[in-house]
Point group: C2
Chain length 431, copies 2
């Protein structure tokens, strides 16, 4: 255990600590963030009146829409000179949420990802290959600082470059722990097979995978193909990045770092809190964040809280693995994108109707996206080179605006009618 004093604290002490830190946070946001001052005033909420962490239910929710309106820096609770790092919640900017960290925020972030690594048995003797993207995306940096804390040898290979290189680095540099998205890990596993490299000839021992929902079947496959122990890690940029919760060796739920976050599960329709065991929407309140504190943030992620104690000795509450989304947000290769964003991008390409369908598939554990778009009659009967030009233009816009790389298929006018009967423009056929 990296922080036994917090990870195995008696329940009453955790709640006392949470209450104190919640009080401090409420005072901070009321004083420094116009959005919270207004929402608290609107319901005549007195920030000094909170006596117990259970009273959190009196507080209003914060939504992704609220955050977007504050773009870029209006939710920051400290002067800009105290912000030492800027990340964003997804690949896009105009539509994205910008998050800011103070020096203390970065230290806390390192602490919680160090816990996740330690829970998987990683120590200063390990070579940790971080194949999460290092950029405005929080995946790479979150774990980087945690692995540094542990004293491991960090190999910041990032997620770009090609898979063959990741494998050569893994082999030559004697990597013992691999960190990336589960779909990237599958790509690595397949390529390794193709290259004729047997996992038992490597030093690889474990993997921490996250940034997209994945299930038991994919875990079994990754463990078998890579000869590793595979652990689930959870987080989101709005709250902190990776390290919000993670699995211990029992792999039965993810321990939430409750000294930094208060977790609730609510019914997404009624917004009422749900009891342990019931699946609903995860809601987090940060209680140590200085730069970008959030009160009751609705994540859109579906999960449940688990009752009972964990044999690992951690007293931190566990959440189930994320089962999907409560909204139409598409999580695709670590990128978050709403159908409406795809629609907006398509409108920029002339000659295509904003009539489209998104198909998500998992091919051998790897995410694939096809966007079928109707084109005008005239164009469809036009020369092939014009069709190709439109296709390339759409692909370029999606990549420039949303960093989204997908298979684009142009279809005849009217041909999407069948699929378009329902409200949703997204068909998720992934496991």
């Amino acid at each position: 255990m990296y922080n036994p004093e917090f990870e195995s604290m008696p329940r009453d002490e955790i709640e006392q600590l949470q209450t104190e830190r919640l009080q401090t946070t409420l005072n901070r946001v009321y004083r420094s963030v116009a959005f919270y001052r207004h929402t608290f005033d609107a319901i005549k909420f007195d920030v000094d009146s909170v006596r117990s962490v259970r009273e959190i239910r009196r507080l209003p929710f914060t939504t992704r829409e609220d955050l977007k309106k504050s773009y870029p820096y209006d939710m920051f609770a400290v002067p800009l000179k105290d912000i030492v790092r800027v990340h964003s919640s997804s690949g896009t900017t105009g539509q994205s949420v910008v998050v800011g960290y103070t020096k203390n925020d970065i230290a806390h972030w390192a602490q919680v990802t160090a816990r996740a690594l330690a829970a998987a048995g990683i120590n200063e003797h390990d070579f940790v290959q971080i194949a999460f993207d290092y950029s405005l995306f929080t995946g790479g940096f979150g774990f980087h600082y945690g692995a540094e804390r542990i004293g491991a040898s960090v190999i910041p290979s990032s997620a770009h470059g090609n898979i063959a290189k990741q494998i050569r680095v893994m082999k030559d540099y004697k990597t013992s722990a691999l960190l990336c998205t589960p779909s990237y890990a599958m790509e690595i596993a397949y390529k390794m097979k193709e290259m004729g490299i047997h996992p038992e000839t490597l030093k690889l021992r474990c993997g921490l995978f996250g940034a997209e929902p994945w299930g038991a079947a994919l875990r079994a496959r990754l463990e078998e193909m890579l000869h590793i122990d595979a652990f689930d890690v959870y987080g989101l940029s709005e709250i902190m990045g990776p390290g919000v919760s993670s699995e211990c060796v029992h792999k039965n739920g993810l321990h939430v770092n409750e000294d930094h976050f208060i977790v609730e599960v609510i019914d997404p329709a009624t917004c009422e809190p749900l009891p342990a065991g019931a699946q609903g929407e995860l809601v987090f309140t940060t209680i140590t964040k200085e730069g970008f504190p959030l009160i009751r943030y609705r994540t859109g992620d579906r999960a449940s809280l688990m009752e009972g104690t964990c044999p690992c000795g951690r007293t931190l509450v566990r959440m189930s693995r994320v089962a999907g989304r409560t909204d139409d947000l598409i999580i695709y290769k670590g990128l978050k994108v709403y159908p409406v964003q795809i629609e907006e991008a398509l409108l920029k390409a002339e000659n295509v109707k904003p009539r489209y369908m998104v198909y998500l598939d998992q091919e051998d554990g790897i995410d694939a996206m096809e966007i079928r778009i109707e084109v005008s009659d005239a164009l469809f009967n036009d020369e092939l080179k014009n069709l190709l030009a439109v296709k390339n233009k759409v692909a370029r816009i999606l990549e420039e605006d949303l960093e989204l790389v997908a298979k684009i298929t142009l279809v005849e006018p009217g041909s999407l009618k069948g699929d378009d009967g329902g409200k949703s423009r997204v068909v998720d056929r992934r496991a």
Copy 2:
């Protein structure tokens, strides 16, 4: 000045400090690195005999070939558990040099890049957008920790993703300092023009550019197009990464951080030291590095040392801007590649002869590479789709093996004869 006590230390004190640190380093490498024990023993060099930094000339050189032979970890001077970070000297692995850092090495690295940033007037109020690649390449990480030390707001946008996004981030997040390769900065400048964004509407004030040689003409162009002060920074992964030397506001030579590195300029043919003002090959000795110390490392970079004091008050010796290479190493978009590596990659693609020419151009300040390759007679007269398949295969091999993206042109057998009269396979037509 970030470290006035070192940056403006009287010359005799610098030399005294260098002598002491050199003695410690020599003892360290003799004790811990088999390569140095052997090379020192071979010339009966007594590590305790060095009394002055000037005696460095008695020591043998270290070459890139020596480092390659030690792949991956044989030059490390500490146990692997003390290594906290691994980088490599270029995009390739099999041909690359793996470098390791201890905790102290990382702290020193942050210190010297902080000096470079401070010398450009960057402080805790700045938003520093780091568009160097964050990966095994040292560019991104080197400056990241330095900018953190300064207390600036770091925007780790990295060099991947698209240029339009870099510009949106620059605009929306109020970036005041841009860090990247000079050719990437040019791409940003052109795209900004294309997007109709005027630099005077941005907060951008300065740029630090490096990782490839660039000259006065490109500086003038970048300063004009981006409305900034542009500074040159120098470093190489083998020695530390960025931060080995950098410009002050007088932009008349790069101050070498002599409390960490001893710099010499030698005649590449005779290996004799050259006097100040004479251009030759830069040679560095690290005197604080623990993980990967190097003695008299021949960089292959051509420059001279400058006499006289700098009006900025720094007493650290200055080197001229790098004028090019002493060998046939190609530095292309921050990537280092030898013609022989291209040749090896080509040999993997059947149907092409290892008869090729590399053309380097600078189009509006942006690096471009064309590789012309001769194909067999049979293939050249074959169907177009077969030619395309070969082209794609070559492109894929170059990218997978060397991370090199270049324009591939297949040419008729015998057509490269004219260009191939000389020894060199590289025609560098860049400014």
